[in-house]
Symmetry: D2
Subunit: 352 residues, 4 copies
């Protein structure tokens, strides 16, 4: 029997935390040895998430009391609120400088400290760590991640928009000034904190947009799209809430340039992802549904022709808690620990 | 007691039919004296829709056996499938030439017979009636409707897109070549026929686009937008299905021209609808939710600024079965019968 | 034009409060002149419930500052949390002794102060008012309510269980020691407070029981069933949560005594409600669905034969916010103000 | 690498069929080499269920053309409609007499041909095979199944009721004449055929009972409960539909006999399942939620005290497509093929 890596999950009482636990329980080469949840410290995971009733898992503890050296962890997932994350990671790296970390918050995604301060409303608490962080979109930064110690796991909306758009931008195939991303997300993307607007009765049987013109994920899109384009790129991005638990669908409106047809755009995407296990491009003209990736680490992408010549409609879907968060994080962990990238992530989507 | 108008509903076993019955039962100046449903002829309305159990309603009959003259109706709602509608209306007008009709199908919406044939796949069966039909978007054609005999009630998607866009187009305030309408609809818009893709388990907990690049409602949008603009206008339109029963939300991306700002667009819409009872424009920057118009005849419209200068995001919502179908139809009926326009339509939305 | 009664709603920012506003806006003989919401004082109703955007309603105020005499109200609905209610009603009756009140909380439902203390965990703050309160199940206490000043509106679960069971108990038709009420409720029954277990993602796509063996509504059932039976009656009652907004369905298992068959039980219920506008008994063997009473003030009751001889399954449904709360309350208001009982309550259910 | 068993799935275009494919794709010791779907023959699995788009699976074929001998299968899952199943299994056993079969239909569950004829409305087409069939509730018939060739996989409702009740019946701990099973199921239990009453708009936002007093699963309950009791046992059973995809919850009302308290009943169940991997008994007083077993092969059971002395409320949950159908079937396959029983079934539930 191979030795299993010892894994800690900080913030295990939220949805990305519990999703990490779900995936790690089925991962053959890791064991969960630390789970934290400050407000629920002392409870068992089964009290916080009933689905874990049959499993033996470490009791939830508060972060403050942890002796990081004694914990003997091989890797830590950090699923904490932003800002808190910076302080925690700073402290634990002070104790265990070589600790491998996959951070699921937004705290180390933005390389520009000014952009961080603008979108998050305060100065970064650990700017000195930022240069060591690698942006964890595996399909783009795989080689860098393998060498990294601290990985900034991408946002759910941004993963869903980047995977279809980056190859088109890099290929200079679309008009960079006319990109519209109309995104729709299930409710788990909003987390587990008790807010009136997230109650069942406020959400079910209805649909609405939010953060119109000003959602924080825009900063991440700007950074990555501009990097890919070699110039500033600003897209129109509108998030909406769907009365469902999981899934993001992005309807992306683009115009081909240099004579690129929708079919050409489809070919670019098909080529880009031909060898990727977790990105699947559908046949031209077919478009994907969120339910078909539910619970899996897959992204599905479809390209269809608009009736306006030259314009295409690109639609991408992923499960915001898996490829949009915890599945992507496990994919990053696999790279950091030298495991085959897909280990523990082969589950087929749960539909219906 | 005022005499009540005698009303018939053709196609009472579908959702727009039952919604008509719901509204008419609460309408003080009409009585329902005829209900048809070919495949369910002989049944009672309570067998087909349990909510009518406490009400006395005419038994469902087949259309074929009806003696239109003897029926003595003042007005007929036609909620039949397209194509069928043309034949039925032709036949009944042959018997009762002055019959007032509000048709909820697509059959008399397109003034151009060629456009009809292109989008619906067959020649129109009653082209001679088309010139007598008035397009029934009350806020636009109110005066014509009052003089009409045959009203073509608009489609749900198209009402939701036209109400916010027509004033902007008429005011020459937006770029006509860059309009994107990303529309999301609840499931009742798809009707009540038993199809696998409409089963609960196929629809709930998921989200997808359909008819990408080629939905029939485009024909209606083209006609009305071009008419308003005085030139051909073709918009990008993508419909999606939301796992909810009622409601359409259209996220509309526009670019102001001639220096028009998003605030200017908001002002144009506010002015246009200042005196309309069933269209409400929210304060600038606020955007609406479908749940807040559920069951009511209201359309809510919001305008927000995009972060890209000059671009605005306009969001409109309505209940596809009310303002998008049967409520609009009753509004048309009120005009045809000389009643106050809002009679029977004052119900407040049902939320939660 | 008849003068309209001036109505106040205390606790307008909760679901029963907003439902009162919805119903009262369509009621021809009242006007809303006072709305309170302590934590949202200063806001407008449209900020708290988007569906009221098109309506002019009084601004929300805090209860503390109100001058009850100056307010000149004809009737007050009290939709406040329990315990708070007792103090508020005591204070306002001190100022305006003749004020008519319909209280939607549990505070004046239990005639036995000891039972109140046992189930609610504290002594009643206004026991001297209790004898003046009339239990507001209209179909049972209609005559008393007409003479009353303070009406204790029944609970949603208890209305749904009492309407089918009381006639059977009074007729001595069923075994009083073997009644099982398996009840299922939509989420609005839990109110609008932000609690983790009421989040969309915790509730949708799942089903569970709660309060097993110890739900507070049992006290109310015990009181009313024992009164009807003339002896102590204790039923088994288990509430469950359904991932839907509105509706309660009670599946009630009973055994006929004295040779009473399921058909006899059906006949007893049919007779009992033959002249009631808001209780409808379905034909024998048919059972009701919650969706068919959604948004209406109706209760539907069905009786079916169990395959075990002598046993029957009685199923009742109502909308917990209407007949189970605010609709019932308006029905009580109509009696208190001398209006026809059904005024403002004729809306047909909204399905789908 | 171990050789993998070759598996066929008959009826792969329904929900239990696709769930088998999901589970088998993640099973390390099998390969899917045959998939049938008569009405969708010639299509690919990805056309019928979008979630399989990334996988290579055999094309769907019609049953009629199959050469069973040439197919070289080690085991067949039969997920066909009842009656059809009998004929198909008869024919294939004629060709390959030793073929191992797990049948998910009801066709071989009832040992009494008369009971089958009564509940299913026609004589059995293969009564000579019935004696060879073993009832596939693994926790009860594990040893027999290991020796079997033809396993009749139990129904979803019946598994959910049998697992909590059988140990109590065998222990003579409860009154056999007063068992009430109030069952609630998600929509996938009704299958994938296009019926009006299963449309999203007919099902969402509502709740209802069906088959009251006469559901076919009663036959299976009668058989197994009577067998366990050594006398005839007839329970009251009422199924309901919950607006969710997956999950069954049974609320079971029982009365302890011979002085057995609810705590005693809990102890009996805890003992009975102490060593079972797929049945988990919660601590006394806790009751389970369907969402916590979603997508997993687990059954959770809770026992609570009723306030009526001597009575207990037992609640069980499972995922109707997994432990209630395809997961149970794979568990049976593992026994038939000599694999460890839990192989391929270790997935943790997907919540939220």
């Amino acid at each position: 029997m191979t030795t299993k890596a010892k894994i800690g999950v900080l913030g295990a009482s939220g949805y990305t935390g519990s999703e990490l636990v779900r995936l790690l329980l089925n991962h053959p080469r890791v064991e969960i040895t630390l789970l934290t949840a400050d407000r629920k410290a002392g409870q068992n995971m089964r009290d916080v998430f009933g689905q874990f009733a049959p499993f033996n898992l470490p009791q939830l503890v508060a972060i403050d009391g942890i002796d990081w050296k004694a914990a003997g962890l091989d890797l830590i997932f950090c699923a904490l609120p932003h800002a808190t994350t910076q302080k925690v990671i700073k402290a634990l790296l002070a104790d265990v400088p070589a600790m491998k970390i996959v951070d699921l918050s937004a705290d180390f995604r933005l390389t520009d400290a000014a952009a961080y301060a603008k979108w998050y409303g305060h100065e970064h608490h650990a700017p000195e760590l930022q240069p060591r962080a690698v942006y964890g979109l595996v399909e783009v930064y795989r080689d860098k991640i393998k060498q990294a110690q601290l990985v900034a796991n991408p946002g759910c909306y941004t993963s869903c928009a980047q995977l279809p758009l980056l190859p088109l931008i890099r290929a200079k195939a679309i008009d960079l000034d006319e990109i519209v991303v109309d995104a729709k997300s299930g409710m788990t993307g909003a987390g587990r904190s008790a807010k009136e607007e997230m109650l069942f009765s406020e959400v079910s049987e209805g649909f609405h947009a939010y953060g119109v013109g000003k959602h924080r994920h825009m900063a991440e899109l700007d950074q990555e799209f501009s990097k890919a384009a070699g110039r500033d790129v600003t897209v129109t991005f509108t998030p909406h809430l769907v009365p469902m638990n999981r899934g993001i669908l992005s309807t992306i409106y683009v115009r081909g340039v240099s004579g690129k047809t929708p079919e050409d755009l489809h070919a670019i995407l098909s080529d880009a992802y031909a060898n990727e296990q977790f990105v699947h491009v559908l046949p031209f003209g077919q478009t994907p549904q969120t339910r078909h990736v539910r619970g899996s680490n897959m992204t599905f992408i479809g390209v269809a022709k608009d009736r306006i010549p030259g314009r295409a409609i690109v639609i991408s879907v992923l499960d915001n808690l898996v490829k949009g968060a915890s599945g992507q994080a496990v994919q990053n962990m696999n790279l950091l620990l030298g495991y085959p990238e897909a280990t523990g992530l082969e589950q087929v989507a749960l539909f219906p």
